[in-house]
Symmetry: C2
Subunit: 403 residues, 2 copies
């Protein structure tokens, strides 16, 4: 089944907004055995939309469109489908009643332009939108099965799950399986060599790198595919050893803490709250995470974390001694079992010859011992924050697994 | 000039990675008067790549490709260009010397497979990659000007700026201008009505919404375009009043603090470090941001922020009284001029009938007064964190502008 995703919206082509629908749609399709074969992004331009829809009809079996269903003049999906697939728009009284009653429920006056949203191409079925005012639609025409969904992910994705996935799952018959894992703290080329040697010709694999973590996916078909994947994954895990993780690093740390009933507190300097933000993205972390602090100023390092003033003066805020004192001070003052701390220079300013931008010290205090690392991360301020946060969470994991 | 961006990489079509190159390329092209007309994403599949390249050659003048230049077997850009544009690959001894010398400099052994990267289509010129081992190339063939860049943004974007932008800027002649601003705390439909009324037929405009902020862009051409935009933008700003901001909210807050030599400290509960993360993304914030804390547990609220235990017991952690006490306690204990605090229920668990998921109290303590708001945010855990952080930063802005 050749599936095309057509993302619409001039804001995507102008870099004002990033398309996250494609990735979410692709991942959920994969779970039921589908894959996105074609993807195009198209601005809010009628001629271009018609051109892309005709292209989709000529090369794909299914097209999932996102965007262009709002009430304003630059919402052109309905008109483009009308023209490309030769299905004149028709007013749907029941749909108009549903739109009006939604507005009434929310206590908002319905605008005259919203009436546009009650027109659908002939033969199309409306798809209800539980999280917004723009209804979607489903249409079979010119050999193409088309689903038109709104642009905002929180409207599009629930509709995709409710209306698109079940129908495509019925039509697809999944005949392959997938195993996924992650390697942390190892260059991509080394992971590639290791996975290639193990996988051989028994399966295909792919690697992607993000923020210092290499994601591995191994895929194979055939009747014994589950057995093959079990065997290959076991060997990859064994070869990677403690560099293997099976989930995002913050989830691994959260799971380790919960399993062992340990609490953690985090003192951040150069990572500026990113470790806290990542950990608090994990539901249920509140049972393990007592508190975190961003101690940007020297004063706050002394007052909150009892970092000795003399150490700050002699070694500077970016030093292994201060990282260790921050981790220990945070654990002590919060009463947490584990203290995690970072101090470094995120840039763009603040670097010196001895202490260049990207230099980061990380410390984990646990059971009376403190582990400290020194790393130099490349890239701009966001890269340094991202890599330093990943490294710090990984150091916490290693200490927890060993301690 | 019809510009196409062709993003390659199976990881993009499988939702393992999000394409951020498109947006960055689009924004920088716009600054020199170019716009992306076509965009497609293509997996690492030779036949598909050839098909997309032929399509690009048939509809575009310029194609900017990203990805597929690595040394491994799924890096197919060179082979696809060879086939689609009929330019056989040729070994380039000078390029191979450059690749080897780069590896030598890094003290890494060059692998035999890296030799593949020294083959380029006939007539192509190599583009040096300062941040990675994969060279790009530039080729004019079949009426198409093609730039092939690596996939990772930190390699692709510097090369795009160095090699692509200057050439395209020379060829383009910009004949329009753009004004951009943001509205915060107002529904999109209201912003739309307001901007539409002001802009009329004198320009075109677009709106995009993200995390409670509506971004507005107004564009027009003609000889008096600067004057028109000055007039329209002044009127939009005036109509929006204090709901207008000219930059991301964290930058606006950072600027206000710096201008008035004020310091801030942040106590977060439900936003879990996201306010700190956003503020610390602004270079130079260390002069204004004394410290932040994520006080997840009641104990840490009492100990760090001196929230009275009785208030916590009687009103619960998610209450206007606790938000106010957190903001005041944070300002007092850190010595900051401004104290900002959030407490709420990010979900998915923890909601009750009286205090549902998404309920968030925000407080700003400044000059002896504390402002508190109650809001109910929709969406999942990441949405609630995101919107609550935006709202909190905006409340700080309003208090600072008024106080």
């Amino acid at each position: 089944m050749r599936i095309e995703v057509l993302s619409t919206g001039t804001e995507l082509l102008r870099g004002r907004s990033v398309d996250t629908n494609l990735g979410a749609i692709a991942r959920e399709l994969e779970a039921v055995g589908g894959e996105v074969r074609y993807h195009a992004t198209c601005g809010d331009d009628l001629a271009r939309l018609v051109e892309e829809l005709k292209l989709a009809a000529s090369r794909a079996d299914v097209c999932i469109m996102t965007g262009g269903l709002g009430p304003t003049e630059d919402d052109l999906t309905r008109a483009a489908v009308e023209e490309a697939l030769h299905r004149p728009l028709r007013f749907r009284p029941a749909l108009w009643r549903a739109i009006r009653s939604r507005f009434r429920r929310l206590g908002v006056r319905v605008a005259a332009i919203n009436r546009r949203q009650a027109f659908l191409p002939g033969g199309a079925g409306a798809l209800a939108n539980a999280n917004g005012s723009a209804p979607g639609f489903r249409l079979e025409a010119d050999g193409l099965l088309l689903f038109a969904l709104p642009g905002p992910p929180r409207e599009a994705l629930p509709m995709f799950r409710r209306f698109v996935v079940p129908e495509l799952a019925r039509r697809l018959r999944k005949d392959w399986d997938l195993w996924e894992g992650k390697a942390i703290g190892l260059p991509e080329a080394d992971v590639d060599a290791l996975v290639r040697r193990i996988v051989g010709k028994r399966a295909t694999y792919g690697l992607t790198v993000s923020g210092g973590v290499v994601s591995i996916s191994v895929r194979t078909g055939g009747p014994s595919r589950r057995k093959i994947l079990r065997d290959l994954s076991m060997r990859v895990r064994r070869a990677l050893g403690r560099r293997f993780i099976d989930a995002p690093i913050e989830e691994v740390v959260a799971r380790l803490l919960a399993k062992r009933c340990l609490t953690i507190a985090v003192a951040e300097s150069c990572t500026g709250g990113l470790i806290a933000h990542r950990l608090t993205n994990v539901p249920g972390i509140s049972a393990s995470l007592l508190e975190t602090a961003v101690t940007y100023s020297n004063g706050s390092k002394v007052r909150r974390l009892s970092v000795p003033e003399e150490v700050l003066r002699k070694r500077g805020a970016v030093s292994p001694e201060v990282a260790a004192a921050m981790a220990e001070g945070m654990a002590r003052s919060s009463g947490a079992d584990v203290g995690l701390a970072t101090t470094g220079i995120a840039g763009p300013a603040g670097g010196t010859r001895e202490k260049p931008v990207g230099l980061v010290y990380t410390a984990v205090a646990f059971r009376g011992k403190t582990a400290v690392t020194e790393r130099r991360f490349g890239g701009g301020r966001p890269d340094v924050k991202d890599r330093a946060a990943t490294h710090a969470l990984n150091l916490a994991r290693i200490v927890l697994q060993e301690g």
